[in-house]
Symmetry: C2
Protein backbone atom coordinates (compact mmCIF):
# COMPACT_ATOMS: atom_id res chain seq x y z
CA UNK A 1 0.00 0.00 0.00
CA UNK A 2 1.18 3.47 -0.77
CA UNK A 3 0.32 6.89 0.49
CA UNK A 4 1.17 10.54 0.08
CA UNK A 5 -0.64 13.36 1.78
CA UNK A 6 -0.50 16.82 3.12
CA UNK A 7 0.16 17.19 6.79
CA UNK A 8 -3.20 16.72 8.41
CA UNK A 9 -4.91 15.66 5.21
CA UNK A 10 -5.99 12.31 3.78
CA UNK A 11 -3.99 9.75 1.83
CA UNK A 12 -4.21 9.20 -1.89
CA UNK A 13 -2.54 5.91 -2.87
CA UNK A 14 -0.25 4.67 -5.62
CA UNK A 15 1.69 1.54 -6.38
CA UNK A 16 5.45 1.83 -5.70
CA UNK A 17 5.96 1.53 -9.48
CA UNK A 18 6.47 5.08 -10.64
CA UNK A 19 5.77 6.22 -7.10
CA UNK A 20 7.71 9.47 -7.19
CA UNK A 21 6.25 10.33 -10.55
CA UNK A 22 2.87 9.87 -8.89
CA UNK A 23 3.91 12.21 -6.11
CA UNK A 24 4.92 14.71 -8.77
CA UNK A 25 1.49 14.51 -10.37
CA UNK A 26 -0.19 15.00 -7.01
CA UNK A 27 1.96 17.93 -5.96
CA UNK A 28 1.93 19.73 -9.29
CA UNK A 29 -1.32 20.71 -10.92
CA UNK A 30 0.45 22.86 -13.51
CA UNK A 31 2.33 21.62 -16.56
CA UNK A 32 6.06 21.07 -16.14
CA UNK A 33 8.13 24.03 -17.27
CA UNK A 34 11.81 24.05 -18.26
CA UNK A 35 14.63 23.02 -15.97
CA UNK A 36 17.68 25.01 -14.89
CA UNK A 37 18.88 27.08 -11.94
CA UNK A 38 16.30 29.86 -12.37
CA UNK A 39 13.59 27.24 -12.36
CA UNK A 40 14.88 25.73 -9.15
CA UNK A 41 14.34 29.06 -7.43
CA UNK A 42 10.84 29.55 -8.83
CA UNK A 43 7.66 29.66 -6.78
CA UNK A 44 5.82 26.52 -5.75
CA UNK A 45 2.59 25.85 -7.62
CA UNK A 46 -0.29 23.98 -6.06
CA UNK A 47 0.16 25.41 -2.57
CA UNK A 48 2.81 22.88 -1.56
CA UNK A 49 6.22 24.46 -0.94
CA UNK A 50 7.99 21.73 1.05
CA UNK A 51 7.94 18.01 0.30
CA UNK A 52 9.29 15.66 2.97
CA UNK A 53 9.91 11.99 2.36
CA UNK A 54 9.99 8.77 4.20
CA UNK A 55 13.25 7.16 3.09
CA UNK A 56 13.49 3.41 3.82
CA UNK A 57 11.18 1.76 1.32
CA UNK A 58 10.02 5.00 -0.28
CA UNK A 59 13.28 6.38 -1.70
CA UNK A 60 15.75 3.52 -1.19
CA UNK A 61 15.31 -0.23 -1.47
CA UNK A 62 16.56 -1.26 1.98
CA UNK A 63 15.85 -4.96 1.51
CA UNK A 64 17.75 -5.48 -1.75
CA UNK A 65 20.55 -3.29 -0.42
CA UNK A 66 20.99 -5.29 2.78
CA UNK A 67 20.74 -8.60 0.91
CA UNK A 68 23.52 -7.44 -1.42
CA UNK A 69 25.68 -6.33 1.52
CA UNK A 70 25.16 -9.65 3.29
CA UNK A 71 26.09 -11.46 0.08
CA UNK A 72 29.26 -9.43 -0.28
CA UNK A 73 30.38 -10.01 3.27
CA UNK A 74 29.54 -13.72 3.08
CA UNK A 75 31.45 -14.24 -0.18
CA UNK A 76 34.50 -12.45 1.24
CA UNK A 77 34.54 -14.97 4.11
CA UNK A 78 33.48 -18.03 2.14
CA UNK A 79 30.20 -18.32 4.04
CA UNK A 80 26.73 -18.76 2.53
CA UNK A 81 24.82 -16.03 4.37
CA UNK A 82 21.02 -16.10 4.18
CA UNK A 83 20.78 -12.49 2.95
CA UNK A 84 16.98 -12.14 2.81
CA UNK A 85 16.61 -13.54 6.34
CA UNK A 86 19.37 -11.28 7.64
CA UNK A 87 17.86 -8.20 5.99
CA UNK A 88 14.41 -8.92 7.39
CA UNK A 89 15.74 -9.76 10.84
CA UNK A 90 17.74 -6.55 11.04
CA UNK A 91 14.89 -4.35 9.86
CA UNK A 92 12.63 -6.05 12.39
CA UNK A 93 15.05 -6.02 15.32
CA UNK A 94 15.71 -2.29 15.48
CA UNK A 95 12.00 -1.55 15.78
CA UNK A 96 11.73 -2.78 19.40
CA UNK A 97 14.88 -0.77 20.20
CA UNK A 98 13.20 2.32 18.73
CA UNK A 99 10.12 1.54 20.84
CA UNK A 100 12.28 1.51 23.95
CA UNK A 101 13.44 5.04 23.06
CA UNK A 102 9.86 6.09 22.30
CA UNK A 103 8.68 4.84 25.69
CA UNK A 104 11.50 6.60 27.52
CA UNK A 105 12.98 3.31 28.71
CA UNK A 106 16.13 4.15 26.72
CA UNK A 107 17.52 7.69 26.51
CA UNK A 108 17.67 9.30 23.07
CA UNK A 109 19.84 7.15 20.80
CA UNK A 110 20.24 7.88 17.14
CA UNK A 111 19.21 5.25 14.64
CA UNK A 112 22.72 4.10 13.77
CA UNK A 113 23.28 3.55 17.48
CA UNK A 114 20.23 1.28 17.56
CA UNK A 115 21.28 -0.51 14.37
CA UNK A 116 24.72 -1.04 15.93
CA UNK A 117 23.24 -2.26 19.22
CA UNK A 118 21.37 -5.10 17.52
CA UNK A 119 24.02 -5.89 14.88
CA UNK A 120 26.23 -7.95 17.20
CA UNK A 121 23.62 -10.62 17.94
CA UNK A 122 22.52 -10.61 14.34
CA UNK A 123 26.02 -11.27 13.05
CA UNK A 124 26.49 -14.19 15.45
CA UNK A 125 23.13 -15.60 14.38
CA UNK A 126 24.09 -15.48 10.71
CA UNK A 127 27.57 -16.97 11.11
CA UNK A 128 29.44 -13.67 11.00
CA UNK A 129 30.32 -13.33 14.67
CA UNK A 130 34.05 -13.05 14.03
CA UNK A 131 34.01 -9.68 12.25
CA UNK A 132 36.51 -7.12 13.50
CA UNK A 133 35.29 -3.87 15.08
CA UNK A 134 36.06 -2.07 11.82
CA UNK A 135 34.20 -4.68 9.77
CA UNK A 136 31.20 -4.46 12.12
CA UNK A 137 31.12 -0.68 11.74
CA UNK A 138 31.29 -1.07 7.98
CA UNK A 139 28.38 -3.51 8.23
CA UNK A 140 26.34 -0.94 10.17
CA UNK A 141 27.18 1.56 7.46
CA UNK A 142 25.50 -0.72 4.92
CA UNK A 143 22.43 1.43 5.61
CA UNK A 144 24.33 4.46 4.29
CA UNK A 145 24.86 2.64 1.00
CA UNK A 146 21.30 1.48 0.31
CA UNK A 147 20.41 1.77 -3.38
CA UNK A 148 17.76 4.21 -4.57
CA UNK A 149 14.68 2.84 -6.35
CA UNK A 150 15.16 3.21 -10.11
CA UNK A 151 12.82 6.23 -10.33
CA UNK A 152 13.99 7.96 -7.15
CA UNK A 153 16.75 10.27 -8.36
CA UNK A 154 14.86 11.40 -11.45
CA UNK A 155 11.61 11.81 -9.53
CA UNK A 156 13.24 13.81 -6.74
CA UNK A 157 15.11 15.96 -9.24
CA UNK A 158 11.84 16.84 -10.95
CA UNK A 159 10.04 17.45 -7.65
CA UNK A 160 12.88 19.69 -6.52
CA UNK A 161 12.46 22.17 -9.33
CA UNK A 162 9.79 24.19 -7.57
CA UNK A 163 9.76 22.88 -4.05
CA UNK A 164 12.13 22.27 -1.18
CA UNK A 165 12.64 18.52 -0.85
CA UNK A 166 14.05 16.78 2.21
CA UNK A 167 13.95 13.41 3.89
CA UNK A 168 11.95 13.30 7.12
CA UNK A 169 13.22 10.03 8.45
CA UNK A 170 13.88 8.32 11.75
CA UNK A 171 17.37 7.72 10.36
CA UNK A 172 20.01 10.05 11.77
CA UNK A 173 21.54 12.97 9.89
CA UNK A 174 24.88 11.27 9.16
CA UNK A 175 23.21 8.14 7.75
CA UNK A 176 20.93 10.25 5.52
CA UNK A 177 23.76 12.54 4.43
CA UNK A 178 26.07 9.69 3.44
CA UNK A 179 23.15 7.90 1.76
CA UNK A 180 22.42 11.01 -0.32
CA UNK A 181 26.06 11.22 -1.40
CA UNK A 182 26.26 7.54 -2.34
CA UNK A 183 22.87 7.37 -4.08
CA UNK A 184 22.94 10.84 -5.63
CA UNK A 185 19.75 11.98 -3.90
CA UNK A 186 19.31 15.72 -4.56
CA UNK A 187 17.91 16.76 -1.14
CA UNK A 188 17.86 20.48 -0.38
CA UNK A 189 18.52 19.78 3.28
CA UNK A 190 18.54 16.78 5.60
CA UNK A 191 15.69 16.60 8.10
CA UNK A 192 15.72 13.82 10.65
CA UNK A 193 14.03 12.73 13.85
CA UNK A 194 17.49 13.27 15.36
CA UNK A 195 17.00 17.04 15.14
CA UNK A 196 14.19 16.89 17.70
CA UNK A 197 15.46 13.75 19.44
CA UNK A 198 12.11 11.99 19.11
CA UNK A 199 11.16 9.15 16.79
CA UNK A 200 8.21 9.29 14.41
CA UNK A 201 5.31 9.19 14.89
CA UNK A 202 6.02 11.76 17.64
CA UNK A 203 4.27 14.94 16.45
CA UNK A 204 7.40 17.01 17.17
CA UNK A 205 9.08 15.38 14.18
CA UNK A 206 6.36 16.50 11.77
CA UNK A 207 5.85 19.91 13.39
CA UNK A 208 9.52 20.71 12.89
CA UNK A 209 9.00 21.17 9.15
CA UNK A 210 6.49 24.05 8.97
CA UNK A 211 8.14 25.70 11.98
CA UNK A 212 11.57 25.55 10.41
CA UNK A 213 10.43 26.78 7.00
CA UNK A 214 7.95 29.39 8.25
CA UNK A 215 5.13 27.87 6.21
CA UNK A 216 1.65 26.65 7.07
CA UNK A 217 1.31 22.91 7.77
CA UNK A 218 -0.92 22.76 4.68
CA UNK A 219 2.07 23.82 2.55
CA UNK A 220 3.98 20.71 3.61
CA UNK A 221 3.36 17.35 1.97
CA UNK A 222 4.67 14.10 3.41
CA UNK A 223 5.45 11.43 0.82
CA UNK A 224 5.71 7.76 1.81
CA UNK A 225 5.22 4.48 -0.01
CA UNK A 226 3.60 2.86 3.03
CA UNK A 227 0.95 3.67 5.58
CA UNK A 228 3.03 3.55 8.74
CA UNK A 229 4.37 7.07 8.62
CA UNK A 230 0.96 8.61 8.62
CA UNK A 231 -0.66 7.55 11.82
CA UNK A 232 -0.18 11.06 13.15
CA UNK A 233 -1.42 12.61 9.95
CA UNK A 234 -4.52 10.49 9.95
CA UNK A 235 -5.17 11.52 13.51
CA UNK A 236 -4.61 15.14 12.58
CA UNK A 237 -2.26 15.57 15.49
CA UNK A 238 -0.21 18.32 13.89
Amino acid sequence: MNASQRFGGRSPRWSRRGFLTGALAAATAVRARGTGPADVAGPAPGGVSVLVFDVFGTVVDWRSGLIAEAGRIGRARGIAVDGPALADAWAKSYQPAMDRVRSGELPWTKLEGLLRSVAGDLLVRFGLGDLSVKEKEDFVHAWRRLPPWPDAVEGLTRLRRRRVIAPLSNANVALLTHMARAAGLPWDCILSAELVRRYKPAPEVYRMVPEMFDVKPSEVMMVAAHEGGFCCGRRGRW
Copy 2:
Protein backbone atom coordinates in the same frame (compact mmCIF):
# COMPACT_ATOMS: atom_id res chain seq x y z
CA MET B 1 41.91 38.49 6.89
CA ASN B 2 41.17 34.90 6.18
CA ALA B 3 41.29 31.72 8.14
CA SER B 4 40.63 28.02 7.84
CA GLN B 5 41.45 25.51 10.50
CA ARG B 6 40.63 22.27 12.10
CA PHE B 7 38.46 22.40 15.15
CA GLY B 8 40.78 23.23 18.00
CA GLY B 9 43.77 23.85 15.73
CA ARG B 10 45.47 27.01 14.47
CA SER B 11 44.54 29.23 11.54
CA PRO B 12 46.38 29.32 8.24
CA ARG B 13 45.37 32.38 6.20
CA TRP B 14 44.57 33.16 2.59
CA SER B 15 43.21 36.10 0.67
CA ARG B 16 39.54 35.76 -0.30
CA ARG B 17 40.71 35.55 -3.94
CA GLY B 18 40.67 31.85 -4.70
CA PHE B 19 39.72 31.23 -1.09
CA LEU B 20 37.92 27.96 -1.57
CA THR B 21 40.67 26.67 -3.83
CA GLY B 22 43.00 27.46 -0.96
CA ALA B 23 40.80 25.48 1.38
CA LEU B 24 40.95 22.63 -1.10
CA ALA B 25 44.75 22.71 -1.09
CA ALA B 26 44.80 22.70 2.70
CA ALA B 27 42.31 19.89 3.11
CA THR B 28 43.71 17.67 0.38
CA ALA B 29 47.31 16.59 0.49
CA VAL B 30 46.79 14.03 -2.28
CA ARG B 31 46.45 14.76 -5.99
CA ALA B 32 42.92 15.22 -7.31
CA ARG B 33 41.48 12.04 -8.77
CA GLY B 34 38.62 11.79 -11.28
CA THR B 35 35.12 13.04 -10.63
CA GLY B 36 31.83 11.11 -10.75
CA PRO B 37 29.40 9.47 -8.34
CA ALA B 38 31.83 6.75 -7.20
CA ASP B 39 34.34 9.42 -6.39
CA VAL B 40 31.84 11.33 -4.32
CA ALA B 41 31.45 8.30 -2.09
CA GLY B 42 35.21 7.74 -1.79
CA PRO B 43 37.19 8.00 1.43
CA ALA B 44 38.50 11.30 2.73
CA PRO B 45 42.22 11.82 2.37
CA GLY B 46 44.23 13.98 4.76
CA GLY B 47 42.30 13.00 7.88
CA VAL B 48 39.52 15.55 7.29
CA SER B 49 36.13 13.97 6.58
CA VAL B 50 33.76 16.87 7.25
CA LEU B 51 34.25 20.47 6.12
CA VAL B 52 31.93 23.10 7.60
CA PHE B 53 31.74 26.64 6.32
CA ASP B 54 30.97 30.07 7.51
CA VAL B 55 28.56 31.44 4.90
CA PHE B 56 28.14 35.24 4.96
CA GLY B 57 31.37 36.63 3.52
CA THR B 58 32.99 33.23 3.00
CA VAL B 59 30.62 31.59 0.51
CA VAL B 60 28.26 34.41 -0.48
CA ASP B 61 28.86 38.11 -1.02
CA TRP B 62 26.28 39.54 1.36
CA ARG B 63 27.23 43.18 0.78
CA SER B 64 26.94 43.20 -3.02
CA GLY B 65 23.78 41.12 -2.74
CA LEU B 66 22.06 43.50 -0.34
CA ILE B 67 23.18 46.56 -2.34
CA ALA B 68 21.64 45.01 -5.46
CA GLU B 69 18.40 44.21 -3.61
CA ALA B 70 18.20 47.76 -2.24
CA GLY B 71 18.79 49.11 -5.75
CA ARG B 72 16.02 46.93 -7.16
CA ILE B 73 13.49 47.95 -4.55
CA GLY B 74 14.44 51.63 -4.85
CA ARG B 75 14.14 51.65 -8.64
CA ALA B 76 10.73 49.96 -8.44
CA ARG B 77 9.52 52.84 -6.23
CA GLY B 78 11.42 55.65 -7.94
CA ILE B 79 13.56 56.30 -4.87
CA ALA B 80 17.35 56.65 -4.77
CA VAL B 81 18.20 54.23 -1.96
CA ASP B 82 21.72 54.39 -0.51
CA GLY B 83 22.39 50.68 -1.03
CA PRO B 84 25.86 50.43 0.53
CA ALA B 85 24.71 52.29 3.65
CA LEU B 86 21.60 50.14 3.91
CA ALA B 87 23.59 46.91 3.50
CA ASP B 88 26.12 47.90 6.14
CA ALA B 89 23.45 49.15 8.53
CA TRP B 90 21.47 45.92 8.27
CA ALA B 91 24.49 43.70 8.74
CA LYS B 92 25.48 45.78 11.76
CA SER B 93 22.04 46.05 13.33
CA TYR B 94 21.27 42.35 13.67
CA GLN B 95 24.46 41.76 15.64
CA PRO B 96 23.19 43.47 18.83
CA ALA B 97 19.95 41.49 18.44
CA MET B 98 22.02 38.28 18.25
CA ASP B 99 23.91 39.41 21.37
CA ARG B 100 20.60 39.76 23.21
CA VAL B 101 19.84 36.14 22.36
CA ARG B 102 23.37 35.10 23.37
CA SER B 103 23.00 36.82 26.75
CA GLY B 104 19.62 35.23 27.40
CA GLU B 105 17.88 38.60 27.39
CA LEU B 106 15.86 37.40 24.36
CA PRO B 107 14.60 33.82 24.04
CA TRP B 108 15.92 31.78 21.11
CA THR B 109 14.99 33.56 17.88
CA LYS B 110 16.18 32.34 14.51
CA LEU B 111 18.27 34.65 12.39
CA GLU B 112 15.51 35.56 9.96
CA GLY B 113 13.41 36.57 12.96
CA LEU B 114 16.19 38.94 14.04
CA LEU B 115 16.67 40.25 10.50
CA ARG B 116 12.91 40.87 10.35
CA SER B 117 12.85 42.56 13.76
CA VAL B 118 15.34 45.22 12.69
CA ALA B 119 14.13 45.58 9.09
CA GLY B 120 11.19 47.85 9.93
CA ASP B 121 13.30 50.69 11.38
CA LEU B 122 15.85 50.22 8.63
CA LEU B 123 13.25 50.59 5.89
CA VAL B 124 11.88 53.80 7.45
CA ARG B 125 15.42 55.17 7.75
CA PHE B 126 16.12 54.55 4.06
CA GLY B 127 12.85 55.96 2.75
CA LEU B 128 11.12 52.60 2.29
CA GLY B 129 8.75 52.74 5.22
CA ASP B 130 5.65 52.24 3.08
CA LEU B 131 6.36 48.68 1.95
CA SER B 132 3.50 46.21 2.32
CA VAL B 133 3.83 43.25 4.69
CA LYS B 134 4.48 41.02 1.68
CA GLU B 135 7.12 43.40 0.31
CA LYS B 136 8.81 43.57 3.71
CA GLU B 137 8.94 39.79 3.90
CA ASP B 138 10.42 39.67 0.42
CA PHE B 139 12.99 42.22 1.57
CA VAL B 140 13.94 40.00 4.54
CA HIS B 141 14.28 37.13 2.07
CA ALA B 142 16.95 39.13 0.23
CA TRP B 143 19.35 37.17 2.44
CA ARG B 144 18.13 33.94 0.85
CA ARG B 145 19.13 35.31 -2.55
CA LEU B 146 22.67 36.47 -1.80
CA PRO B 147 25.04 35.72 -4.68
CA PRO B 148 27.88 33.23 -4.28
CA TRP B 149 31.46 34.43 -4.70
CA PRO B 150 32.65 33.58 -8.23
CA ASP B 151 34.76 30.62 -7.03
CA ALA B 152 32.28 29.30 -4.46
CA VAL B 153 30.25 26.75 -6.42
CA GLU B 154 33.25 25.29 -8.22
CA GLY B 155 35.35 25.22 -5.05
CA LEU B 156 32.61 23.56 -3.00
CA THR B 157 31.93 21.05 -5.77
CA ARG B 158 35.60 20.04 -5.77
CA LEU B 159 35.78 19.92 -1.97
CA ARG B 160 32.66 17.77 -1.88
CA ARG B 161 34.18 14.94 -3.88
CA ARG B 162 35.78 13.28 -0.91
CA ARG B 163 34.31 15.03 2.09
CA VAL B 164 30.97 15.93 3.54
CA ILE B 165 30.48 19.68 3.12
CA ALA B 166 27.95 21.75 5.03
CA PRO B 167 27.40 25.32 6.14
CA LEU B 168 27.82 25.91 9.87
CA SER B 169 26.20 29.29 10.08
CA ASN B 170 24.24 31.40 12.51
CA ALA B 171 21.71 31.71 9.69
CA ASN B 172 18.65 29.50 10.11
CA VAL B 173 17.99 26.32 8.16
CA ALA B 174 15.33 27.81 5.84
CA LEU B 175 17.55 30.77 4.91
CA LEU B 176 20.50 28.46 4.17
CA THR B 177 18.35 25.97 2.27
CA HIS B 178 16.77 28.59 0.01
CA MET B 179 20.18 30.23 -0.46
CA ALA B 180 21.65 26.90 -1.58
CA ARG B 181 18.83 26.46 -4.10
CA ALA B 182 19.16 29.98 -5.51
CA ALA B 183 22.96 30.02 -5.62
CA GLY B 184 23.47 26.37 -6.57
CA LEU B 185 25.58 25.56 -3.50
CA PRO B 186 26.12 21.77 -3.41
CA TRP B 187 25.89 21.23 0.36
CA ASP B 188 25.50 17.63 1.56
CA CYS B 189 23.35 18.79 4.45
CA ILE B 190 22.43 22.07 6.12
CA LEU B 191 23.92 22.66 9.56
CA SER B 192 22.88 25.74 11.46
CA ALA B 193 23.08 27.28 14.90
CA GLU B 194 19.28 26.84 14.82
CA LEU B 195 19.70 23.10 15.35
CA VAL B 196 21.14 23.66 18.83
CA ARG B 197 19.33 26.96 19.41
CA ARG B 198 22.54 28.77 20.33
CA TYR B 199 24.48 31.30 18.29
CA LYS B 200 28.16 30.95 17.46
CA PRO B 201 30.57 31.21 19.13
CA ALA B 202 28.69 28.99 21.61
CA PRO B 203 30.68 25.74 21.72
CA GLU B 204 27.48 23.69 21.28
CA VAL B 205 27.31 24.85 17.67
CA TYR B 206 30.77 23.52 16.85
CA ARG B 207 30.44 20.36 18.95
CA MET B 208 27.32 19.40 17.03
CA VAL B 209 29.38 18.46 13.97
CA PRO B 210 31.64 15.67 15.27
CA GLU B 211 28.80 14.38 17.47
CA MET B 212 26.39 14.22 14.55
CA PHE B 213 28.85 12.59 12.18
CA ASP B 214 30.46 10.23 14.70
CA VAL B 215 33.93 11.54 13.90
CA LYS B 216 36.73 12.97 16.01
CA PRO B 217 36.85 16.78 16.29
CA SER B 218 40.19 16.60 14.46
CA GLU B 219 38.38 15.17 11.41
CA VAL B 220 36.30 18.34 11.12
CA MET B 221 37.66 21.47 9.49
CA MET B 222 35.96 24.85 9.78
CA VAL B 223 36.44 27.15 6.80
CA ALA B 224 35.90 30.89 7.09
CA ALA B 225 37.21 33.94 5.25
CA HIS B 226 37.41 35.98 8.45
CA GLU B 227 38.65 35.63 11.98
CA GLY B 228 35.40 36.13 13.87
CA GLY B 229 34.16 32.57 13.71
CA PHE B 230 37.24 31.21 15.39
CA CYS B 231 37.29 32.79 18.78
CA CYS B 232 36.21 29.47 20.26
CA GLY B 233 38.70 27.59 18.17
CA ARG B 234 41.54 29.77 19.25
CA ARG B 235 40.53 29.24 22.83
CA GLY B 236 40.36 25.49 22.27
CA ARG B 237 36.93 25.37 23.80
CA TRP B 238 35.76 22.38 21.79
